[in-house]
Structures are given as C-alpha cells and as structure tokens.
Amino acid sequence: MFPIVEARFLAPDVKLFRIQAPRIARKRRAGQFVIIRIDQHGERIPLTIADSDRDGNITIIVQGVGKTTRWLNTLESGDSIRDVVGPLGEPSEVESFGTVVVIGGGVGTAIAYPTAVAMKQAGNRVISIIGARDRERLILQDAMQQTSDELHVMTDDGSAGTQGFVTDALDQMIQSGVVVDRVLAIGPVPMMRAVSAVTKPRQIPTIVSLNPIMVDGTGMCGGCRVLVGGRARFACVDGPEFDAHEVDFDVLMKRNNLYRDQEAEALREFNKHPSES
C-alpha cells in the first residue's frame, strides 16, 4: 500500500498527488515514470514522476481521461494506492546542450517539467512553450516560469497567453533567428508529430516522450513496442524518450486506439457508480 499524503486539483480533471514511496523517491531521475494499480481489480497504468522530495514522496499529475485516471482522481489525501512500481524507463538525456526548447502540451507539461528543471540545472538556456485548450486547463505555469529563462504560453482560444499552437511559437522563434540546440516535446501524439515536422527539415535534434499502452513496464510483454527508425523498440525500457525524427507516429496513434471500445464501456460503467469502484 502506498499512502497519498497530498491531493489537489490543478485544473479541471487534472489532479496532483504526492505519494509515499521512499525507494522510488530516492532513485528517480527526470523522465522516468511509475506504473500504478489502484486496487486488486484495477489495471496497470503508467504515470510520469513529476517530482520527489526528501521525505520519500513522489509527485504525479494525472489527467482524467478514462476509467482508471478518473477513478484515481476521486482519491484524497489519506487514501492509498495498492501498487506503485518504479522508477521505470530510461532517464532523460540531460547535458549542457546550449539552448533547449521544452514544449509541453496539456498534461504533457507535467511530464516535461522535471526534465526542464534538470536541463536548467545542467546549465542550459531553457525556453519553454506550454499549451492548453484554454486558461482553465493550463497547468504548472508558475513552476515552468521559475525554471525557464523564457516562457511562452499558447492557448487554442487565446484566453491566456497567445492564441495558437505550440508549434506556432516554435516556428516563429526559429524564424526570428534563435539558435535552438535541442527540442523536447511532450504532449498528444499529433502535437509531437507537428513539432517533429517543424524541426526535421532544420535538423534540430528533437526528443519526444512516447505514450504507448503498457502493462508490466519491465520489458516482459512487448505491448509497448513502437517503431523507431523502422525497428521495434520497447518504450518502457528503451524509452519512453526517442528521437522524434525516427518515430513512426502513425503506428503509435493506431496502437493507442486498440481498446477504444472496451475503454469507452469501462468509463460508461464507471460513470454510473463513480463512488463504488
């Protein structure tokens, strides 16, 4: 059992949890994730470790999209999670690259945040671009501001920052002559694909964090395989970060849809009795 010591909403459907998990807190590095299972009937889902502290807690930030994440978001401080395993995956490659642009879309900002911090600590100039549908759904703006030399905020409806996509900001920045040494983009697959399309012709090294469906997270099932450079790689152990210019986003998107019917059904059932799960 892993006790929840803090739980609060950051935006509608986006909740932050601090969870007691001392072994994981001590080991984790930016870019790594945990796999959790809420109770003995639950499924296993991966969530990025956004932060950790000296008291043995890890932070996760969860966007409610389907049954498990919405169920998780009903939990409060004092509740606990049955299984939390990690830290899984390879840590982000953090070096002094020069100027690094960190792009977070939606809850992807939470996943990008720890790497932005690490990039800054490694002596990079960090320019962050965060995007969301509207002002309400924007997360971690203050935290990103603090860890970045420059922050651009983009919303689809213009209710905060500039109206437009994160790729608009990136494109403009590059065109205005900013020399970008590396880009890290994390968010919905179409966004990561769009970022990759901006940087590929300019040969700017670009890293994306992939989110295929996972089960064990240890390389045992192969369900998380993604095509990178034409080769199958297991995102849970070889990734989750990969060279964007080599990733087959189309395959990733299609594989992520594989259980859509069952997921929709599970959510419908859950919405009937959200408190009883």
Partner: protein, 485 residues
C-alpha cells in the same frame, strides 16, 4: 491398508485415468481441466508400483523426489506422510504434480513403463498434495535457529521460491523481491488457471510467509534498487538472482506492429495476471477474441496455453501455426491432446512471412509459406525450409507470437561485474551457481534459458545449499574457468 499384490498381478491393473472436465464444456471456461484422482483410484494406482529395489523413477526426477517411498505411503493410506516425504525434495508438489513433463522425467524412467504403462507418478503427487492442502494440515517444517544472515532473492518464480524456502529453514533471514504486483513468476502470469489454479500457488506462498519469509512486490531490481545497493546499503550478505527468461521474441516480419498481434507473454499476462477474461470484475482489456479467428505461432507449452486461452475467450476458431511437423512439437503430449479435444486446429509445416492490416492498422490476414523438413540442425531436429512459391494468405483477427523468450537485461546491465554469456544469460558455476560477483548466485531460466518448473526449483535448492555454505564459511571460490571466460 490394502494388501500388496504380487508383481504379476500388479502389472495387470490398468493405469488409472485422470478424470477431466468434458472437452466441449471446458473449452469455454477457465476452470481446471484435470479433476484429480479419488482416493480409491489413487490407491489403485499406487498398487501398480513394483517398489523396485533400484527405483529409476527417482533418478528421472530432476530433484530426486523419493517416488517409491511416497507411493508406498499412499498405498498404506498415510497421505499426509506421503506429502511430507515429497516435501523433503520438492516444496511445490501441487504445482509439479500438475505441470511437470513427467513423460520425460520420473515417468519416462519408470521401469514399469518399459513393458506396460508407466506409473502415473504426477497424478499421485498431485493427489497427495491436494489431500494435504484440503486437510488443512500442511506440516510446516521446523526452522533452524536464526543465523542473523540476510539473503535477498530476486524474482519469485519457482527458482526463487524454492531457494527462499530452503534458506529460511536453515535459519537465514530471507526477503524475496518481485517486479510484478503478485508472487509466483510464470506460475502466476504464464501458466493459465485451467492448468494450474492460482489459489494453489497463493496458498503455497502463504505457507512460506507463515514460515517467516518476507515478500516485497513492486520492486524491479536494477531500477528500484540495484544489487550493489542491496548488499552495501541494505545489509544483504548474499543475493540469488532468479529473474527467469521473460523477454519476448518476435518473428521480425513485416506487420508485427499491427493491432491484434500479441506476444504470448502479453496475451497470457493480460489473461492470467490481469484476469482480462473476467471483464465484469477486472479492468485490464484484451483485444476481442470472441467469434473470431485466433492463431498462435509456435509449438511449445506457451503456444498451447495461449491457444487454449483464446478458445476460452470465445474464439470461433483457434489454430496453432507451427513450422515443423507435429512430431517435432516441443509441447507436452498431454497439452497437445487436450488442445485437440477442445477443438484447436493444427496447421503444421507453415510459417508466417507477413502480417497484413487494414487502414486502421488492425490485423486482417497473415501470409504463410509452406515448409518442408530438411537436414537435422544442432538440436537434432530436422530443419524446416521454406518451399518456394507456396505462399498462401489466410484471414486472421488475432495473432499470438509464441516463438520463445530471452534474457531480460535489467539486472545484468546494472551489475556490470556479474558476467553474462553472449545471449545475455547470467554465467554461473554449474555446481555452486556462483556468479563472477562475490556473494551473488544465479539460477533457473536466467542461467539455463527457458526450461521447466522443476529444473528451476532444482536450481533454487542447489543455490540454497551453496549460499548456506558461503554464509557459514565466508569462503568464495569460483571455478577459475568460469571466472575468466
């Protein structure tokens, strides 16, 4: 107690058949297929044993279960005595009685088998273990005085469990670390409920817990903690690595990324560990098999378990695609027969060359090439060769790839001073199971490559006595050849 019969009479008794669920019914449920012998049948079977002076059955068993002696106790009606007799050499009799390939081991060596049907040793072992469990009188062996030495076991499959059991008895403080959320290794996530009910595994683990073994789930050694940290920071005096051969192999053919193509590991994990077959109670989804055509590529136990699980998930048609001929199939005979009775179709001498999908990226067919058997290869089996121009396309909804597994590198890559061979398996001295790293031992599938439950348990026992030795003497000597290579 039944009067022993003279040998001439004994060999006239027919081998007692294992009662099983009706094939049509069981092909659609996950309940156990074999129902177990009744007392009368068990004693009748025990009566068949020739109580040989030189019992070959014992030599045929990889851990040397005293078959003749326990069978005599069955005949005498002392079933609990028979159980403790088996437990002297085998800590999981209810498991091995069900899943050992007996025909190649104890029963394969049985003297009676030379002229008649061999004694049904596996069925008797299972009978005794079930009797003991159901009686609620499992006699937990007495633990030796505590030594104060700490041992970490990495992996909770049969190798890890049997090592933990032995070391605990010798008074050491044992902690088992398991990456998954449940204990049992392949017994839990691989072998399906209908062959090995999970409650049996759980009860054995409860017994071990009661003996004083500590189990920590959700610890991926190499990630959550390294072996060096276990030894230097957490005070473990020795480590036994028993992480199995869990890395799935794929065919490396076009279309393997399509939706509906699974590794057997993923498919079986979803079905067994995550209980996807019981979707009204469990959340993990599995790709729709009901009323569809599911084919499994491969011919081993894993392939049989996968295809029979697919059948039970409601497949309209469940097939095995195997590149050699039926005779070469490595799966246990019993499993192949069970699968055939349940309506599984076998397409031997065929090999997939491409999976074909629709615009949504979902599997819709497979291209197969016919095979012929050529010259024998290193394994002595005739090598399958593709027949040119023989390709056919077969409509298919779900494909499960069960063509073997390899070594997972997580532990090895974070323990650089522990040597591996060129396939990534850990190198350990054959007799002592010592690795090239002081205080670290390894055994089971992670050393031998994918093998059997009982061989893994045997390795666990060997490791336990070798670890005990090391803890008592503090002397570390490895075979110099192993240390150098």
């Amino acid at each position: 107690m039944a009067e022993p019969l003279p040998p001439k009479e004994r060999v006239k008794i027919p081998r007692q058949a294992m009662p099983e669920q009706d094939a049509d019914a069981r092909a659609r449920n996950f309940d156990e297929v074999n129902l177990g012998l009744e007392v009368v049948a068990a004693q009748c079977e025990a009566q068949r044993c020739l109580t040989c002076a030189d019992p070959k059955c014992v030599k045929g068993c990889p851990v040397g279960v005293k078959v003749r002696d326990f069978v005599e106790l069955v005949l005498a009606g002392d079933f609990l005595g028979a159980a403790s007799k088996i437990r002297e050499d085998n800590v999981l009799p209810a498991v091995t009685g069900r899943v050992c390939p007996q025909e190649n081991q104890c029963e394969g060596a049985c003297i009676m088998g030379k002229r008649f049907d061999s004694l049904a040793i596996g069925n008797l072992e299972r009978f005794v273990a079930d009797y003991e469990r159901e009686s609620g009188q499992v006699a937990l062996p007495q633990r030796a005085p505590l030594t104060g030495k700490k041992v970490a076991i990495v992996g909770s499959g049969p190798a890890g469990l049997s090592c933990a059991g032995d070391l605990c008895l010798r008074g050491h403080d044992v902690t088992v670390f398991e990456a998954l959320h449940e204990i049992g290794g392949v017994l839990l996530y691989g072998i399906p409920e209908f062959r090995l009910p999970k409650d049996i595994v759980r009860q054995e683990i409860d017994n071990m817990r009661a003996m004083g073994i500590e189990f920590q789930t959700n610890v991926v050694v190499g990630k959550t903690v390294t072996i060096d940290e276990l030894m230097q920071e957490e005070g473990f005096d020795a480590v036994f690595v028993a992480t199995g051969a869990g890395l799935p192999r794929f065919l490396d053919i076009p279309g393997e990324h399509l939706g509906g193509v699974y590794s057997a590991n993923e498919f079986l994990t979803r079905v067994n560990l995550m209980k996807a077959y019981d979707s009204s109670h469990y959340d993990s989804p599995i790709y729709q098999c009901r009323d569809r055509h599911v084919a499994v590529i491969g011919g081993g136990n894993t392939a049989m378990d996968s295809v029979r699980s697919a059948m039970r998930l409601g497949a309209a048609k469940a097939s095995i695609i195997y590149r050699r001929s039926m005779e070469e199939m490595p799966a246990r005979q019993e499993e192949v027969h069970h699968a055939q009775d349940e309506g599984v179709q076998f397409l031997d001498l065929h090999n997939p060359v491409e999976f074909i999908g629709d615009e949504q990226g979902i599997l819709k067919s497979v291209r197969l090439v016919k095979m012929a058997l050529g010259e024998p290869d290193e394994s002595g089996r005739r090598r399958p060769v593709a027949i040119e121009g023989s390709e056919i396309e077969m409509p298919l909804d779900v494909a499960i790839v069960a063509v073997g597994t390899g070594a997972n590198p997580l532990v090895q890559s974070t323990t650089p001073d522990m040597k591996t061979n060129r396939w990534g398996y850990i190198q350990a001295d054959e007799e002592s199971l010592r690795t090239s790293k002081v205080g670290v031992f390894a055994g089971g599938d992670i050393v031998s490559g994918a093998a059997t439950v009982i061989l893994a348990m045997g390795a666990g026992r060997t490791a336990a006595s070798s670890i005990d030795d090391y803890l008592q003497t503090g002397v570390w000597e490895t075979d110099p050849a192993a240390a150098e290579s």
